[in-house]
């Protein structure tokens, strides 16, 4: 059913079911964005989603979210291994958007968290999708 939606430069982006649903579904995309915040439960779900994605030949990119300090990134990187990783700083504007029921990109497009996600999207737009390079990538601190 959804096959006809592909091609022609089209992008299909799927917000997967949370938790174990993410793990089951993560293998069927070209690219899986594994979103993890620095909590063990979150990292565990991301870890299993990555294993599923890798098993099914999808590229993997880790989105390290709600990052307050470098130790948060390291915790995620250590647990999730050698995949490209993008850092999204903890951002009150995103929490505010959530409370107001609005899009973060409309509430404050220049806030640090929104800018980090926007930069990632611009890279995706430029590159098609990025191959998992296997090398540690710039995480926004460079």
């Amino acid at each position: 059913m959804l096959g006809e939606l592909e091609g022609g430069g089209k992008v299909v982006i799927c917000d997967l079911e949370a938790g174990v649903g993410s793990v089951v579904r993560a293998g069927q995309a070209d690219l899986v964005l594994a979103v993890a915040e620095p909590s063990m439960k979150s990292i565990d779900v991301a870890q299993r989603a990555i294993a599923s994605a890798t098993h099914n030949g999808a590229d993997v990119l880790i989105v390290a979210n709600r990052i307050r300090e470098d130790a948060d990134v390291e915790k995620i990187r250590e647990a999730l291994g050698d995949h490209e990783l993008v850092t999204v700083p903890d951002d009150p504007a995103i929490a505010r958007a959530d409370q107001e029921g609005r899009a973060p990109i409309d509430v404050d497009p220049d806030s640090p968290g929104v800018r980090a996600i926007t930069a990632l999207a611009e890279r995706l737009a430029a590159n098609g999708h990025m191959a998992a390079s296997g090398q540690p990538a710039a995480d926004g601190h460079g």
Binding site: L2, C14, D15, A18, V35, D98, A121
Partner: protein, 105 residues
């Protein structure tokens, strides 16, 4: 390009999905955003507002309970189960049942 956004509930999946969809649409690509979360809030992150998001949530519930079926044609799919979001993103809710096969995305 098929992108799946995975993670624990509350990790920021939906914020990442919605924001990326908006930016890719601004770059001129046709973007279809699929909401497969059992708590379908992608509409909020895309900027369609709480009321329209709630309408889609009701639709999602009806899908899961088998009261309505997804249609095979894209146009019908968006018309019935989706909505137009800012920057031209098309948002469609996907049933958990449909999630088994065919795949999402």
């Amino acid at each position: 390009m098929k992108i799946a956004v995975a993670g624990k509930g509350g990790a920021g999946k939906t914020t990442v999905s919605g924001t990326i969809a908006r930016v890719l649409a601004r770059s001129g690509r046709p973007v279809l955003a699929l909401d497969a979360d059992s708590n379908p809030m992608l509409g909020i992150s895309l900027g369609i507002g709480p009321e329209e998001t709630e309408r889609l949530e009701d639709m999602r519930r009806a899908l899961d309970e088998g009261e309505v079926d997804h249609q095979p044609e894209m146009e019908g799919l968006v018309e019935t189960f989706g909505t137009e979001a800012p920057d031209g993103v098309r948002l469609v809710v996907v049933s958990r049942i449909d999630n088994v096969d065919p795949p999402c995305p």
